[in-house]
Symmetry: C2
Subunit: 243 residues, 2 copies
């Protein structure tokens, strides 16, 4: 049997998705509960390895077992024993060939910015707060340059990345709710820290520290040091995996 | 000078509003910062003494000092030194006769219920989750009986309450957002735990454990044991104080 899960988590206190020996991770927590349920070691495969502090509303993971357990039983067991900052919202049996990461056609990420001098105490774990003026129009102009297929090496934290850094960004949408600006990225794949570095660069444009017109040269340079700072993990959320 | 503050807090980790010797409270935190700023002991008066675990989006408090400091200076200092689960959103100079609690004409509270088998990991500190079916129509019918001026002694946790327990509830509105039901209470005043006991009673109606038509007799009984359970603190939020 191949089971596919939809997962939400508040990543604040985890060392990211991927299982680690000495730290609490989301993958580790879920595997521990499944291992207890099935009575033997279960390994799950996540669609995206979110970093420490990054959240998810629509992470996808799958796992294979010989046992034929009912989906509802697995779902109820997981939600009973998982900590309250991780929830499995759906579970379904899928074709054996399905693999969360390898079958993915794209992903949607959200980055939430709060442009205010005052903390939003209810959302402080999920937004990056920036004081002072932000020129959103300039940020939108800058965002346009990222759309399409590019080599995004300048927007990747992994210096030893050997494979192709060519990715396609389908869209970057700006959604405003009061003082909050949510940047919604969709694309066929994202390099390590890519959304956070693009966001950090867009913020520098919004603060008037860079010009929107500099973006094409930064992309072409393929040099990490040409791009902006990596925006903090807490504003980022994996919203959906496209198949 | 008499300064009026608007305050938001995530009450999860506090022993409520009111200053206590051995526990962290919201009043205590704010007084400590103001005492540091002014260099002498400051006492603040809150409009409502929210319980441990209760939140606020619009708590009001005032304090009197002889010093004539700029509002912006006090606001910036408070938000710099307060923990990130407490924020002062506004500060203004008001007439000497203004007193947060004594001048209040009414209050608005919100109680958030999540009717789902699955945790909402992002709002888990702010909603009370209930599995299984809830008959909202019946809850709305039951809520109608509370509107108006009544003796609410049956909905008060303080058994030794000596003063008048007569209060007027102006409205109880049900607002639905997906699986969430937000109950919005407005009234001229609320007794100790009154919103939580009314909500607990309405939930029992929603679960079919009581009939809406029982409410008038519960009110008339003036007996706490006739009413339902006290709903958990975490769903409750003081939204606004009316003057």
């Amino acid at each position: 049997m191949n089971y596919k899960m939809e997962i939400q988590y508040d990543g604040t206190k985890y060392h990211g998705w991927q299982r680690l020996e000495k730290f609490e991770t989301v993958q580790g927590k879920i595997e521990d509960v499944l291992t207890k349920l099935f009575g033997h070691k279960i390994e799950i495969h996540g669609a995206g390895r979110t970093d420490a502090g990054v959240h998810a509303k629509g992470q996808i993971a799958n796992f294979k077992v010989n046992e034929d357990k009912k989906e509802e039983e697995i779902l109820a067991y997981l939600n009973k024993y998982l900590p309250d900052d991780i929830a499995v919202t759906k579970i379904s049996r899928v074709d054996d060939r399905f693999h969360s990461r390898l079958s993915a056609k794209g992903k949607i990420y959200s980055y939430r910015i709060l442009n205010s001098d005052i903390e939003d105490v209810f959302n402080r774990r999920f937004v990056y707060r920036i004081s002072g003026e932000l020129y959103i129009k300039e940020m939108e102009k800058a965002a346009e340059y990222f759309i399409g297929e590019h080599n995004f090496k300048a927007f990747c934290s992994n210096k030893h990345f050997k494979k192709s850094a060519v990715r396609e960004i389908y869209s970057i949408d700006f959604v405003k709710h009061g003082d909050e600006i949510e940047l919604i990225f969709s694309g066929n794949g994202f390099l390590y820290n890519m959304v956070r570095i693009i966001t950090g660069t867009l913020i520098e444009v919004g603060q008037g520290r860079r010009k929107a017109e500099e973006i094409p040269n930064i992309i072409l340079s393929q040099k990490r040091e040409m791009a902006g700072e990596t925006a903090p993990a807490k504003g980022l959320c994996l919203m959906r995996v496209l198949y």
